[in-house]
Each structure stands twice: as C-alpha cells, then as structure tokens.
C-alpha cells in the first residue's frame, strides 16, 4: 500500500508537471498569437480542411491543438472555448470524435515509427479513418436526433 501511494504520488507529480509545462505555454502562445494574421491564416487553412468533417471555423483552433499536441491539451482548449463563447454541443461532439481517433500526430506516431511501423499506415491511414468515423457518427447522431424530434412533435410536446 505504501508502495502504491509512493508510485501514485510520484506519477501524479510527473503528470502534473508535464501538463503544466505544456498547457501554460500553449495558452500563452494562443492568447498572444490568436489575433495575428499568420495565426489566423494557419487556422483558416486548417478550417478549410476540417470543414469536410463538419467542423466550423471556431472549432478549428482547438481541433488543431489537439491534433498536434494531444487530446488532453485540445480538450483543455475546448473547455476554455466552451466557457468563453458558446461552442455548440454538436461541435464539441464532432471535435471529440475526430480527436479521439487521431491526436498528438507527431509524438504518438513517431513512437511507433521508431518501432518499425509504416508511416503511411500510422499517419495517413489513421487520418482518413478518423475522418470517415467522424462523418459516420455525426450522420448517425443527426438521424437519431431527428427521429427523437419527430417523435416529440407527433406526441405534441
């Protein structure tokens, strides 16, 4: 038990340190550069890509952060933006599906490429797969929601 607690304490400390060292610089950089022309150009270019999986311009920045750095960090920006301006639940759902399929594209992929995995399959195939799953699930969620609403109207509530 004491060994467990010791591992929990040191592991937690490491985890917190890593999150802190990544999250605070990302947030500061975001605030500093969010308004600049270069940053907006990058986000707009990214938005043109992720538009195809149903993500709008406001979801582009959190999705880009998650895609590059990891789900936790993208999730952090999502939480921040949900708090700041109303990101719709549908957008959060779409972002979550996409990011849960593919995130931390550089770090995570490199670990397996170092082990001998094929870069095309680990990177390109995974992105295509993520896009397909996102499209399929958001379409499915749309159908389910419409059914619900129709049933509600028929019942007259």
């Amino acid at each position: 038990m004491t060994e467990f607690l010791r591992e929990f304490a040191s592991g937690s400390f490491e985890l917190l340190l890593r999150v802190f060292l990544i999250v605070v610089p990302i947030m500061v950089a975001l605030e500093l550069f969010e308004g600049t022309r270069a940053f907006r150009a990058v986000v707009r270019a990214w938005a043109r890509l992720v538009r195809h999986v149903g993500l709008d311009e406001r979801s582009a920045a959190p999705t880009l952060i998650g895609f590059l750095f990891g789900l936790a960090y993208g999730g952090g920006v999502i939480v921040r933006d949900v708090r700041r301006h109303d990101l719709g639940r549908r957008q959060v759902f779409t972002m979550s599906v996409f990011l849960s399929m593919v995130h931390a594209i550089v770090e995570d992929s490199l670990i397996f490429i170092a082990l001998g995995a094929s870069i095309v399959w680990v990177v390109v195939y995974r992105i295509v797969w993520a896009a397909l799953v996102t499209l399929a699930l958001t379409a499915l969620a749309g159908i389910v929601l419409r059914r619900w609403r129709l049933r509600g109207e028929r019942r007259g509530d």
Binding site: L32, R80, I111, S118, R126
Partner: protein, 164 residues
C-alpha cells in the same frame, strides 16, 4: 486596464487596449490565467483517473482483460500475446504499450497493425476523464475508441494483405 470581473468564466473579454506593449501585456496575463485555469481543470480529472488506472493495474485487471482479448488477436493476424500491449495501452498509455511490445517478436506488418489499434485506443481512463470535462460521455468514447481502433486494425491488415 482591467475590470474586477474579467476572471469570471464566460464573461465577455475586456475591450482590447491601445498600443502594442499594452496589448501584449494583456494577452500574456490572459494566457497565464487561461493556462492555470486549464491546468486546474485538467488536474482535477486527470489525477483521480490516474489513481484508478494504477489501481486497475495493481488489481491484475490488465492480465484478465488480456486473456479475454487473446482470441480477438487472430482476426488482426497477431499472436495471442499481442493482447497484452493492447490492453496495457488501453489502461495505461502508449509508452507502457510500446514497452510491453518490445517483449514480442512481431513482423513489420504486425507492428503496424497493432500500432493502429493502440494509436486509436489508449490511455482510456485519463483521456476519458478529459472528454468528460468537455461534456462528453467518457465511457462511450472509451468503447468507441476500442471498437473503432480494432476495426481500423482489421481493415488495415486486410488491405495490407491485398497490397502485399
């Protein structure tokens, strides 16, 4: 320069001040506040989730889940032992999964197939907690990542067989 209420979550941002230095100072301050807030948000969910993860590992859940997953490995063209790094990845994280992959003797294609399943589904407890914080169902997303990851690996294995 700053009102008393601009730390309230959801409050509209203050009007941008004039001049480069003032703007930069304000952005820096906003960034640090947002960073600390996000750090706190993530810590609150990640640390308990990490504790659960450690407990699951200690209780031998990984071993029993791996024996359940063993027969599935055949559909991926993998040896039964490949279930161990897969489940280690689900419960713990990618680094732990890679560590336990070292013990296996896999072909290039097998490494790629296993990598796809692990890259899509890993660290499910901690990352599920983060998704929960964003307002989603962490359990549903965990299940989604396991199923979609295995499906992606099966499809990749079949396609690689065709391509050669």
């Amino acid at each position: 320069m700053t009102g008393p209420d601009d730390n309230i979550p959801g409050a509209p941002l203050p009007r941008p001040p004039e001049g480069f230095a003032a703007t930069a100072r304000r952005d820096l301050r906003l960034g640090v506040v947002a960073g600390l807030q996000t750090f706190w948000d993530l810590s609150k969910v990640m640390i308990p989730a990490y504790g659960v993860t450690l407990a699951l590992e200690r209780l031998g859940v990984i071993g029993s889940l791996a024996s359940v997953a063993r027969p599935l490995m055949e559909a991926l063209g993998l040896p039964g032992d490949a279930a161990v790094p897969l489940v280690v990845g689900y419960v713990l994280n990618i680094y732990a999964a890679v560590g336990s992959m070292q013990a296996l003797d896999l072909t290039g294609q097998q490494v790629t197939v296993l990598a796809i399943a692990i890259l899509i589904g890993h660290n499910l407890v901690v990352e599920g907690a983060v998704l929960h914080k964003a307002g989603m169902n962490g359990f549903a997303f965990g299940a989604l990542r396991i199923v979609a990851g295995l499906a992606a690996a099966v499809v990749a294995n079949l396609l690689m067989g065709l391509v050669g």
